[in-house]
Assembly symmetry: C2
Homo-oligomer: 210 residues x 2
């Protein structure tokens, strides 16, 4: 592709993907950018611009073929591939992610679940045994793990990230409320900072009630 | 205040708050926008601009008083107040949020936890009994609940949102992978779409490996 796509566009792609899936589930064959706009809440011109970044897909007077566009955006998002994934931290959040079947359906195969707590090690979540975090490095190396999901307390997160980096991880999905230091620019980090989202809510609540 | 602050600025405020807390924990008294910039990763001019939206706080040649700025940003975020909160959906994710002590420390007091599953109703998470979702509307009305956290499957989320709206909720923190329809513009919604975050990660992973 070559061209650098802005993060704002990239972050809108999963939303397109989700809405197109809903249309597909309702057996919709095609949709105009205008109608897509009314459903998804971006302007029609925004939608056309976004999709033009990847070659367009729409046809004048026809609109978009729903199935085709869904598949294309899936491919752009890398959802036509599988990702070997481990979760580190098997508390409630780690278990919530391990239990969410939607992730496996999208190709994120959870191969291992790790914790430091001896009371958790050996327990099973779905068919997955919780393993001792001591074995994380070896496991990641030996099982071609590409994504590590960090669900530990913030005090442990950097240490875990360092282990993952040493074992050639490609991407980290970080739920710990801390910004990880990753020297290697080839490793992708995506943060979910729940507290920041909650504080945004409280800001907006107070603004409304002023 | 009157002036409308952009969402981009608002979403950076919790990050300032988090980094200032870390500085405060290390007993830092003051910091220049330049040093703050090197820690937080925004440019010094971005930081000055952001904070100028709220009246500045910095002093030429001195920088920012860490404690003061932390307190001020906390106030702007509404963290000097308490919020009565309920969680709907007591699965792993709902329990993870109920168990996270950081939210209570910030003033989000979890008053009730609700589920539809008879096997969960009556169980206790910390000191909180899981209640029957049938009682949600009455509970929210009678206990001055301001924030509802939706941790249900997506099929149930709109129905729960409708109940919350009927019971005069002020804000909804939505974890269900669906965009809720809320007619009342005074109600604030903040979404956490985990799948969108994960798909952004897979996009970036593939872009790196091209």
């Amino acid at each position: 592709m070559g061209k650098k796509i802005s993060m704002a566009v990239i972050r809108r792609l999963p939303k397109y993907h989700r809405y197109l899936k809903e249309l597909l589930d309702k057996d919709r064959k095609r949709i105009s950018s205008k109608e897509l706009s009314s459903i998804i809440g971006f302007t029609a011109s925004q939608i056309r611009q976004d999709l033009n970044n990847f070659g367009g897909f729409g046809q004048q007077g026809y609109g978009y073929n729903v199935e085709e566009l869904y598949a294309e955006i899936g491919k752009i998002l890398g959802l036509n591939m599988d990702y070997n994934t481990v979760i580190i931290g098997a508390g409630n959040l780690g278990q919530a992610i391990a239990n969410y079947s939607g992730f496996e359906k999208s190709g994120f195969n959870i191969k291992g679940l790790f914790d430091i707590n001896p009371r958790l090690i050996g327990l099973k979540i779905r068919d997955l045994e919780i393993r001792d975090i001591e074995n994380l490095e070896k496991f990641v190396l030996e099982n071609d793990i590409e994504i590590g999901v960090i669900c530990t307390p913030k005090e442990k997160a950097q240490e875990i990230a360092d282990v993952l980096i040493r074992s050639n991880i490609k991407g980290i999905w970080n739920f710990a409320p801390v910004d990880l230091t990753i020297e290697d620019e080839d490793i992708v980090i995506e943060n979910v900072h729940l507290t920041e989202s909650l504080f945004t809510l409280s800001y907006l609540l107070n603004e409304k009630n002023k």
